[in-house]
Every structure is written in C-alpha cells, then in structure tokens.
C-alpha cells in the first residue's frame, strides 16, 4: 500500500507525467470546444431550416384555405400527409377534433396553443404507442379551425446522439493518445534526460571518462549534452594538469629535497668547527630558497591553469610593460656582453595582468640570456612588440642553439629541460609559466626558428577581446 503510494507519488512528480497531463487537459478542452461549436451550429442550422419549412408550409396552406376554403385545405393536407417524409399536418376543429392530417395523438392542450413549440406526437399510421418529438406550429384559421404543421425532429435527436458519441469517442481517443504521447515523451525525450542524470551520477562517483550520448539531432538536449561533455573535457584536462603537477612534485622535487637533507646530515656528521656548521647551514638555506622558488613557480602555473588568476585582470599597456622588463634586463645583457635590441610599437592595450606578463617576459629574457648567449655566433637578443591583426605579438629572439622542432612542444611542459640545458641553472619551469600566462590572457606561446636561434612569440589578444572558453588549448 505504502509502496504503491510512493510509486504513484514518484509518477506524479515526474516531468513526463506532468507534461502528459497538461497536454491531455489542453487537448480535451480544445476538442470539447471544437465539437461543441460544431454541434451547436448544426443544431441551430437544422432547427432554423425546420422552422422555415414549417413557416412556408403554413403560409401556403393558409393561402389555400383563404382561396379554396376548408375542403381544399383538407384535400391538400390529406394528400401531403400521405407523402412519405417527416412533415406533419393536422387540421382540427376549434374544439380540437381531428379533421385531417397524419398526426394521430397529441398531448392534451397542445392544439389549443398557438405559435411554435416542441411537442411529443404519434402518427396516425403508427401502431406502437411510443411518441416522437416534433417541432410544430399551430395556426388559427379564420372560422375557428386550427392548422398544425410540424416536422419530426428525430433526425435532430439522432444528430445529437452522434455528437454525444463523438464527444465520448474523442475523449477516449484523447486520453489514449495523451497516454501514448506521454509514454512516447518519457521514452524518447525524457529518457535521455534520465540517461544524462544516470551518467552524471556515474561521473560524480568517479568515472571521469564517462560522456553523455549525443543523438546527432542538434536539439536542445544535444547541445546540453555537448556542453556538459566539453565541460567534462575541460575538467579532465585540469585534473590531468593537477595530476601532472603532483607527479612532477613527487619526481622533481624529491631530488633537491634529498640533496637538502643529505647536506644537513653530512654537516651534522662531519662539521667540527662553528664555521663549517655555519657554511653548511648557509648552503641549506640557499637550497631551501631554491625549493621555495620552484614551489612558487609551480603554484603559479597551477593557479594560472585553473583560471583562478582571472579575477585580478585589468587593462594595461603591453608596450610599456615590455619596455619596462626589457629595460630591467638591459643591464644584465650588457653585463653578459650581449646586445639587447628593443623595438616596441606604441599603445598596445591588453586586458590582463602586467605583473604576470612581466614575469613571463622575465622568464623569456632569462632564457635568452642563459642559452642564447652561449654560442660563439654573432650574439644579440631582440625584444619587440607589435600589433598583428587583433593581437599583440611580443617576440623575444636570440641567436643561440635554438630548440629542435620536434622538442618545441615538449619544452612547454613542466620541468622539461633539454639535455643541452642540463648543465645550466634552472628548473625547466620558465617556458611553462610563460605559456600558462599566455593562455590566461587568451593567447598562445609559439616557438619558432630564428635561423639560427630561438624566437619565442607571445601572441596576446588586444583589449576588449573576450577570453576563449577553453584557455587550455595546446599552445605549441
């Protein structure tokens, strides 16, 4: 009992039930209004037709009476009464005694009334006693005789019956069709919603590979499913990113941590003078500062990729920012004996973070100085920023060994360092951070051959361009 109650409650609460019920209700009302209108009109039309026939009969018969007297009227009535049809005639005396006509019995008093009304009657040629309905008009003839002309309205009653039956059938059809329609909606449409609910429940339970089915119809549900799938893809990418970060932390940070620990351990075992201890401690602090630096860079990349940094974005002039960083590194380049050529177009408004762009630029210039100045070839680093369509292209180019094409995608990954770079200081986070900054700004980081050397291009959209939906697209 209780179970069936809840089952019913569940059914009532489903969208399928509510929709079916609403459709049923609306269609029933429409059907009734439509049928009712037709029925009412048909009845009215018939009745009007009957009345006008009766009217003209009365007119013609009363004319006959006026010109030919009672005998002529009786003759005509007798003749017409014999003709098959639904017309009724009766001529009576003033007292109501039958003179001629095909109407046998009438309810008492009927013949005394004048005008048009509906009444029961029996035909003279009928044997059974069941009276029929007729619409009649009683006309008072000069001389006290009464003329009744009428028409059987059984026809109309039958029509009414047909209409009632139609009402009944249509109600039945509507209910059946409504139920079938509801079932159809449930099966075909809402089933998909139910499927989505089911799949999302699985996904929530941990099956992140699950995707909603696309029926290919391009309807609202398909679009919803597509969007949800895209969202899941994006989440998956973020999860993979996080996974990667933790893998990298596990892998690449263990080495410096072990080194740190070993140094402290060694100092404890071997250092005998305060000076030795002091220098060991200093080395330890230096090592831990490096670790902090790596952590900061990793956290920043993770934060950028999760899109959390988007709140702090504002409009600023990229030209000025690029010049600032170039100026900051100019001294360093000079120190290293490398020329730094700066060519920046004026007024490059972008929406983003000056601070992060500065950090990215610093990383690129750092790399250019570190690797670009390493070969004996004609040295020089160039920094430029120019408009290119709807974007700003900030280019840092060096004349160093460059990066082989096959490796260009890989170096953007966290902690990836090429063999040639192993001997130099760094953590392999500079380019990944620059790429993350580019993505945060809705742009990309491109690596190209500078023939010889490396050209790093930060392509960022100019101001008032909306950030794309998926800033995690591959930037290589």
């Amino acid at each position: 009992m209780n179970a069936s109650m809840t089952a019913l409650g569940k059914l009532v609460r489903t969208t399928a039930f509510k929709l079916s019920f609403a459709y049923l209700f609306i269609f029933t009302i429409f059907a009734f209004v439509g049928l009712g209108y037709v029925a009412w009109n048909a009845q009215r039309l018939l009745t009007n037709q009957f009345i006008s026939t009766i009217e003209s009969e009365i007119n013609s018969l009363s004319d006959q009476y006026r010109f030919g007297g009672l005998r002529r009227l009786v003759n005509i009535v007798e003749r017409r009464s014999r003709a098959p049809g639904a017309m009724l005639y009766l001529v009576t005396t003033e007292a109501g005694e039958r003179v001629a006509g095909n109407v046998g019995a009438l309810p008492p008093g009927v013949i005394g009334r004048t005008g048009q009304f509906e009444t029961l009657y029996n035909r003279t040629d009928e044997t059974e006693a069941r009276p029929d309905m007729a619409i009649v008009r009683v006309y008072l003839l000069p001389g006290g005789f009464r003329l009744l002309v009428g028409r059987d309205i059984e026809e109309r009653r039958r029509l009414q019956e047909v209409i009632y039956r139609a009402f009944g059938y249509s109600l039945l059809f509507i209910v059946v069709l409504g139920c079938v329609g509801g079932w159809f909606i449930t099966r075909r449409v809402l089933k998909r919603v139910d499927d989505m609910t089911e799949i999302t429940r699985h996904i929530m339970a941990g099956d992140l590979g699950g995707r909603l089915k696309i029926a290919g119809t391009g309807d609202e549900l398909d679009r919803l499913a597509q969007n949800l799938n895209d969202m899941l893809d994006r989440m998956g990418e973020l999860m993979r990113g996080m996974q990667e970060v933790s893998d990298n932390i596990a892998h690449d940070l263990k080495t410096p941590l072990t080194r740190l620990r070993n140094k402290a351990d060694e100092a404890l075992r071997t250092a005998s003078t305060p000076d030795e201890l002091k220098s060991a401690l200093e080395a330890t602090i230096e090592e831990s500062d490096n670790l902090i630096r790596i952590f900061n860079a990793l956290l920043m990349i993770a934060r950028l990729e999760a899109g959390n940094a988007r709140d702090g974005l504002a409009d600023f002039d990229a030209a000025e920012a690029v010049r600032d960083v170039a100026e900051l590194y100019d001294a360093l380049a000079e120190e290293a004996g490398v020329s730094l050529e700066v060519s920046v177009e004026d007024d490059l408004p972008i929406h983003g973070s000056r601070e992060l762009l500065g950090q990215a630029m610093a990383n690129l210039l750092d790399n250019a100085l570190k690797y670009g100045a390493s070969t004996g070839a004609p040295q020089g680093i160039s920094v430029s920023a120019h408009r290119n369509g709807g974007e700003v292209r900030i280019v840092v180019a060096d004349r160093g060994p460059g990066i082989p094409e096959a490796e260009r995608g890989r170096v953007l990954e966290r902690f990836v360092r090429l063999e040639t770079a192993r001997s130099r200081p760094g953590f392999g986070l500079g380019l990944s951070l620059a790429a993350a900054v580019a993505r945060l700004h809705g742009g990309t980081l491109l690596l190209e051959d500078n023939e010889p050397g490396l050209r790093v291009i930060l392509a960022l959209p100019l101001k008032a361009v909306e950030l794309p939906q998926a800033p995690l697209q591959s930037a290589a």
Binding site: D289, A309, D324, A331, L332, S353, E355, Q359, A362, D366
Partner: protein, 232 residues
C-alpha cells in the same frame, strides 16, 4: 624600536620575537586577533607585523578597525597568500607593506625598519632634497651631484638612488627595490637588481674615496657613510 607581532603560530611567533630582539628591538607577541587589537590600540608600537589568518579577528579586519580608530602605526602584513591580488587586498585594508610567506628574516627586518623610519618622517612631508655625505639628490630638478660635481643618471637609476637615499642607513632588499623602483612583485631569479645597483654604484662611487652604496651580505643594500662590507 617596539614591534608587535600578531601571529597565531607559536613557533613562528617565538622565532620572530627572538630574531627581532637579537636585532636590538623590543618585540611583543599577541596570539590572536582580539589580543593583538587591544595591544596595538593601547601600546605605543613603531611597527605591527600582522598575520592575515588569525583566530577571533582576522588580520585584515584588525587592520581596518585600527585604521578606523585612527591608529596609524605602520603595518606589515605577513601572509601565506602571496599572489598579487592578495597583496592588493592587504594594502587596501590599510597595510603598509606585504610580505608573503615563506620569507627570509633579513627581508622582514629590512622592511620593518624602513616602515618604522617612514613613520618617524611622516609628519613633515618628504624632503625635496636628500643628502648623505657629499652626495645630493634633488627630487625637484632631478639632479644628482657629488662633491658639487653633477652625475648624469638614467631615469630608472635616478629612482633607484632616490629610493636608496630615502631609506638611507636602512637595509633595502632586492625585492624591495624591484617593488618600488620597477613596480614588479615577482622573483626575478637572476641577479638583475645587483647589476642595476652595480651600474649605479659605478656612477656614484667610482673616483671617490668613500663609497656610499654598500652591499649588506645576505640582505641587500644600504646607502650610508661607512666602510664597504661591514655588516649590521
């Protein structure tokens, strides 16, 4: 200098109190926001060092309340939240400086000392002329002279020297220079600042017998009259 440390982590707090005392300052400690507020309001401190995440009353609300009560003691916010927008929030709440954790104590000390000195000089507006020994920097005419001899500086070098001279006899760290002279808050990871300072030094100190720009090992730089290399 009297410093109030408002920090809920006991170990971090005792480390700070000890380190400040060793540096020759008076340091008090409050373990939660309400205690800190009460102490800061009544005690006459030169600088407050405030953690952002505190029990009972969080750091930013504490600073806001103090500022509403017209307590203008300089505040240095010490926080694990170190992103640019966190800093902006901290400074908007009324903080004067912001140092993300983890930090080096030398950095914290340098910043605290600069803050306290700024407080001492706030009543009268900033001077238009900085002078140390025979070095003069005129902020209005943008002229720098040493022993009456004009020294031509690039605009950025001028700002660098201006900041150093404004905080003369105080340690100024590399990050402080990057923040105040270049307005960047990131870690440059290279010795960019050193290169800029050494260029400036070449212009200011070269050819004069008394060096004025000193490197403080493990901390940063200082402009003062004294011997190269001796430490605080």
């Amino acid at each position: 200098m009297r410093i109030l440390i408002i920090e809920d982590d006991k170990e971090a707090a005792s480390y700070l109190v000890k380190a400040f005392r060793e540096a020759g300052h008076v340091a008090d400690h409050a373990a939660d926001g309400l205690d800190g507020y009460a102490l800061a309001e009544e005690g006459d401190y030169d600088v407050l060092v405030v953690d952002r995440m505190l029990p009972k009353l969080d750091g930013l609300s504490l600073i806001r309340s103090l500022r509403e009560q017209r307590v203008e003691t300089p505040v240095l916010i010490l926080s694990a939240l170190g992103q640019v927008d966190d800093r902006v929030k901290g400074l908007r709440a009324g903080g004067d400086d912001y140092l993300p954790k983890p930090y080096a104590f030398s950095e914290l000390l340098a910043r605290v000392e600069v803050l306290s000195r700024r407080r001492a000089s706030t009543p009268n507006t900033e001077p238009t002329l900085y002078r140390i020994a025979d070095l003069e920097l005129d902020r209005l005419s943008h002229r720098v002279t040493r022993s009456g001899q004009e020294i031509v500086l690039q605009p950025r070098e001028f700002r660098l020297l201006e900041y150093l001279m404004k905080n003369a006899n105080q340690v100024v760290t590399r990050t402080m220079l990057l923040e105040h002279v270049w307005d960047y808050h990131f870690d440059p990871q290279t010795n960019v600042i050193d290169v800029h300072v050494s260029r400036l030094r070449a212009k200011i100190d070269k050819g004069f017998d008394k060096p004025l720009i000193h490197t403080i090992r493990g901390a940063g730089y200082m402009v003062r009259v004294g011997q190269e290399g001796d430490e605080e």
